[in-house]
Amino acid sequence: MRSLKIGGFLIGLVVLAALLSFVWTPFDPVKVDAAHRLLGFSGSHWFGTDKFGRDVLSQLMVGARTTLYVGVVAVGIAAVIGTPLGILAGMSPRWLGEFVMRVNDLVLAFPALLLAIMFGAVFGADTLTAMVAIGIATIPSFARIARSGTLQVMSTEFVLAARAGGRSRPTIAARHVLPNIAGLLIVQASVSFAIAVLAEAALSFLGFGTRPPTPSWGRMLQESQELLTVHPRLALVPGIAIAVAVLGFNLLGDGLRDRLDPRLAARV
């Protein structure tokens, strides 16, 4: 399964960088060094330095932590709350399901960033509040996918057979619905991960996400804007890192989904 391997490899790189950053980074990522500002690629600073003289590679490594943290927390919240919500909506009487979906739509329509800003204002702005807010804003996507998948599974004959065999609804949800929508959810998770990472970038820029001086790929991207034409490197490096992480999760998601499907797994 190539997707699985490549995706796993890419994510592995990110995880490795993040873990390594706890014990060692080439330089102190937050230390300002005015004498060595805006240096290009070199032997000592592999990816150069930024406008404050901070080593880009070290920032990248510590930033990897934020990226993973962001992805996991936001997607975790969304999946853990959104999935059961969607399944319930899909298995309830139609009017109830529709009602829940309309409420869902309300949340969906609410701008995620605005929610994060509100949360920041109330609970204090930092990475965690931002991620919880984004997680909550992502719940509707999971709920929708879960519900539509549930409706499809509920209309199959094997669920009818399960009911005819005396299975209760909760059991049907757990044993038939969940395994059969897992693929959909995994793909949704990989998409949501990418969105969460980018949302964190925007929030960090606005001052409602990762507060300086803690490095974050998103903030590195935003900070590189003003010097884009002169030092494109400062945007390219974090940009590529984000792309690698997003691609890695997408491939991992695809590979996992295929792996979990007994029909496809058999052909491997």
Binding site: E157, F158, L160, G165, R167, S168, R175, N180, D261, R263
Partner: protein, 257 residues
Amino acid sequence: MILEARDLERRYARRDVHALRGVSFDVEAGQRFGIVGESGSGKSTLVRLLAALDRPTAGTVAFQGRRIDDLPERKLGFLRSELQIVFQDPMGSLDPRMRVRDIIAEPLGHRDPARVAELLVAVGLPADAAGRYPHQFSGGQRQRISIARALAPKPSVLIADEPVSALDVSVRGQILDLLDDLVSQFSLTLVFVSHDLGVVRHVCDRVAVMRRGEIVELGDVEQVYDAPEHEYTRELLAAAPSLRAALARLSEGGGDA
């Protein structure tokens, strides 16, 4: 009287569809009761009502004298172990993510390797089928799995909803024979629903012909097929492509289509 249906009606308000418009009949224990109908006849709706998987808008269904159309799911446990269904679509009626042994044991609510093994033998599947997945089997074999599942709780009534329609012609005979054997072996009551007249004639003693939500003719198979009373029944019989008739025509000479 093991199954009694009285004035069953099923209307779908949202789509303004009258799937069943007053259907009544009795099925005696041990009988092989056929229900013939084309699309829109209401036969699938009827199957669900008989199995209490849906509620009628009017009318009653009774199983062994006890009404089942007005019972909540939690009180239907007794029915679930007495009445089982074999569905039409061999792929859709089996959860693709479950292994065969779990599929067959599902109506039992718990694992039972011994019973599963017993059932696999009864339906003519090899013992190692238990650990495999549905997609690894052919259509005919999947129907066998379906049948095994239906038999697991030792039901007294088996409802077969178009069990061979989705199968290849050469496999149909085997599955029909299997059903026939099992029904005899376990003294089951069989309700056989199909659009295929030939198949119903082959399997059943009594037949009800349905059209647009109503039973237009009901009687013993031989009688209905040889001396149909209702015009629709006659139309159905006439339209069914008969291989015998075609062969006879061809043999008579010169008749190339």
